[in-house]
Subunit: 135 residues, 3 copies
């Protein structure tokens, strides 16, 4: 049994944002299954990481900016600004989907795990995520 | 209900290649479900990214080459040439599988999203992908 | 039909470790389906890569250390030591879950593919993985 639901995440500033609560407040979890999340964009991604210290999100942004620096002289896809092509690469590094087991009506996340929206554009706008549950 | 089908992608030169059409022309999509793609190789990967400007694929190749440079002096797994170990790491960075929701007989991709085959070897040969549909 | 099972992987030293056998010896595979693996941690990851030459695992560790160096001066999340924040980023680069097709009672891995546990902490301890089978 598979059901899909489209969620819209309000615009966020460039960076890494914990959205576990936004996801959970929008969907009903069955007793057992898998939650699959798919982001319909190529310059934002989703990943799972530390859910407590806000510095982790800030450090993620700093390290990703160092890893994929803007204004590399050899880039060709530059029409939309220096944050565009780098956003595409960052999005593929973290990925566009997540699958999380559902056990006893809850996501079976570890104690420190939260769901991140990774906004890689300076002005990315609202982001659409399809939440699919199979049970 | 789960069904598997093995696809063979013709040899491609090193780089990032949009294969959305190759995938879609080989499989039948149900009304609702998930398409899972799994590449059976360790020096090629699959990811989702921008489907329109060919410069994006070229820039991906340039940035990945800068990110994981060849001929690092400390590498040990060098018997098959300088593109071998780097290909393994690049493959794990993009990943070996994708899951995409199927809604109304179509992949629920965003407007700008396409499926990429990422060929990280200089001469990688044909690549096998298992397409699994669950509905 | 979905079933979950929690596996505990014994503590491993920092680095990349092939755990295909640990996984397969703990679970029963159906004739056809998908195996989903989810690691409940934010400083270790799982990926698929080369299963034969042990040098590949060593080179992975060297390249990841070069890619995400420790002691970057701008980091804020440093209380638990220099291997902590870097471990978080590395974990998101490889990802926290894998999905592998099951065909004829076997994982449909390519000839050279194995499952890696990527331990990014100096002393990570035992790691929990949820193995979910859907068929």
């Amino acid at each position: 049994m598979i059901s899909h639901q489209q969620l819209v995440i309000d615009p966020k500033k460039r960076g890494f944002h914990i959205i576990t609560h936004d996801i959970l407040s929008a969907i009903d979890l069955p007793q057992s299954g898998i939650l699959h999340l798919f982001i319909k964009h190529t310059s934002a991604g989703i990943t799972i990481n530390e859910n407590t210290d806000p510095d982790v999100c800030l450090d993620f942004e700093s390290i990703f900016n160092k890893l994929i620096p803007e204004n590399l002289p050899f880039l060709k896809h530059t029409l939309e600004g220096p944050d565009d092509m780098t956003a595409h690469v960052k999005a593929s590094l973290v990925g566009s989907s997540l699958s999380i087991p559902i056990i006893n009506y809850k996501l079976a996340l570890g104690t420190w795990q939260g769901i991140y929206l990774c906004e890689f554009r300076n002005r990315g706008g609202a982001r659409k995520i399809i939440a699919t549950i199979y049970q």
